[in-house]
């Protein structure tokens, strides 16, 4: 039995039995883990709201193997991101990212860059950054950090550089850009060259500069559907958080 202490973000918190809760959390140094918090339902004192979804905590857990559930011993709140609770769109986008990380990150595989991205993203949202813009930046970066970065450099067929030409297409099946010389390819999304440049920058720039990038209204329309379809393609499932965002009209054009 190894006892570990780790910075973590609570991705999901569910009732497990009469008195226990099942917690999925993303740690800074050990990736995604799921554990049981004994008595977390009844004696709220032991874990006083430090195991709620979106909480940034220092968590202590006992791990007896290299797979399966861990036993959560203690959790101390670093930030509850309470600022997100007052705005449904912000809460919805925050939940969407947690769900994406939950689904895209393999269990027990360390990815500290993805951890920093999620943590900074939640801070940005809480501090009032435009939720959709911030979410799009998060999605592009998350895909890169998880090994699913589409090729935004050159046409995947003929190698033409992406800064020439005006209009581009991107294909999920081909894994990147297509120039206009290859018509008739199925399932492509049109992107302006400006949007392509923006996506490239979002993949490459430093994390601190990432949040300064801005998608204008037109590039949002192009990216919103494409990124969600791409993520759905990799996860092979629909994301539940989209339902709430659709209901409150935050994702008008999204499919």
């Amino acid at each position: 039995m190894v006892i570990r202490k780790n910075e973590a973000i609570i991705l999901r918190s569910r009732d497990y039995s009469e008195s226990d809760r099942l917690i999925t959390f993303f740690t800074k140094s050990n990736g995604r883990l799921t554990g049981i918090a004994k008595g977390a339902r009844r004696s709220k004192k032991r874990f006083v709201h430090s195991l709620e979804q979106l909480s940034y905590v220092t968590i202590a857990y006992a791990d007896r193997s290299t797979s399966g559930l861990v036993r959560i011993d203690a959790s101390e709140l670093r930030s509850a991101f309470t600022g997100l609770r007052g705005d449904l769109a912000r809460l919805g986008y925050a939940s969407l990212s947690c769900e994406m990380v939950l689904e895209i990150s393999p269990e027990r595989q360390s990815n500290s860059a993805l951890f920093s991205l999620l943590l900074q993203y939640l801070h940005q949202l809480e501090q009032g950054a435009d939720p959709e813009n911030t979410s799009l930046l998060f999605q592009v970066r998350m895909l890169s950090l998880s090994g699913y970065a589409p090729n935004f450099q050159t046409c995947v067929f003929c190698g033409q550089e992406a800064y020439s030409g005006k209009n581009w297409y991107v294909s999920i099946a081909e894994g990147g850009l297509l120039c206009t010389a290859h018509p008739g390819i199925h399932g492509t999304y049109p992107l302006s060259v400006g949007t392509v440049m923006l996506l490239r920058r979002a993949q490459q720039t430093s994390l601190t500069k990432l949040w300064r990038l801005r998608f204008d209204r037109k590039s949002r329309e192009g990216c919103r559907v494409f990124l969600l379809d791409l993520i759905r393609h990799h996860l092979e499932k629909d994301l539940k958080s989209l339902k709430l965002l659709r209901q409150i009209g935050a994702l008008n054009a999204a499919g």
Binding site: E18, K45, Q53, L77, A80, R85, G86, K243, R246
Partner: protein
């Protein structure tokens, strides 16, 4: 090869589907019912059927009830100008037991839970707004549990009710009776201070 006759085996299987009941307990219950004195088995099965047939949701407040509207909604001695909004029927029952509230209720049937795919359309929010508009309501009291989802729900509902020109208040959060400041967490202490009032 099953140890019990098939009909008994079936009863055990059904009982073990109930929450908190495992295979062993189910077998014990089944054997007890088999040998139970008097008409316990008959009246038990009759009351299960009766509950299933007669209990539904009040079409006004979404409380559990065997009449529609429920007895609280039709009680004219209650304050008709105040609605207390709760998450679930269990919360309504707790408030009723305390006997401290004399208005009427509205049960949302849950809270907004993005990760579970629960949005505003999946709760009884639209119906609350219709009541606020149609009935003469002075005040809506939000008695929603202070979890992350609960708070987001309360803020969302408060905004919509306020748009209709009706006062919204929220139950106070703070130190429980018999509690101790030393053992109270920081968030609760901060809320307790924020929610202080002039002493009487």
């Amino acid at each position: 090869m099953p140890a019990y006759p098939p009909s008994l085996e079936r009863l055990i299987k059904h009982l073990s589907k109930l929450p908190g009941i495992g295979e062993k307990t189910a077998a014990r219950l089944a054997l007890y019912l088999l040998r139970a004195p008097g008409d316990l088995a008959e009246s038990l099965s009759a009351s299960i059927l009766e509950v299933r047939r007669n209990i539904g949701l009040c079409s006004k407040c979404f409380n559990l009830s065997d009449e529609d509207p429920c007895h609280i909604c039709t009680d004219m001695s209650r304050d008709l100008g105040v609605i207390c909004v709760v998450e679930e029927v269990g919360d309504l029952l707790a408030l009723e037991k305390a006997g401290a509230f004399r208005g009427r209720y509205h049960v949302l049937q849950g809270v907004l839970a993005p990760l579970e795919g629960v949005g505003p359309d999946n709760l009884r929010i639209k119906e609350l707004l219709q009541r606020v508009q149609r009935e003469t309501i002075r005040e809506v009291i939000l008695a929603i549990n202070p979890s992350a989802e609960g708070e987001a729900t309360a803020t969302y509902v408060a905004g919509l009710v306020r748009e209709k020109g009706v006062n919204v208040s929220q139950i106070a959060l703070g130190i429980p009776m018999g509690g101790d400041l030393k053992y109270t967490d920081a968030v609760t202490l901060r809320r307790a201070l924020d929610g202080r009032r002039e002493s009487q």
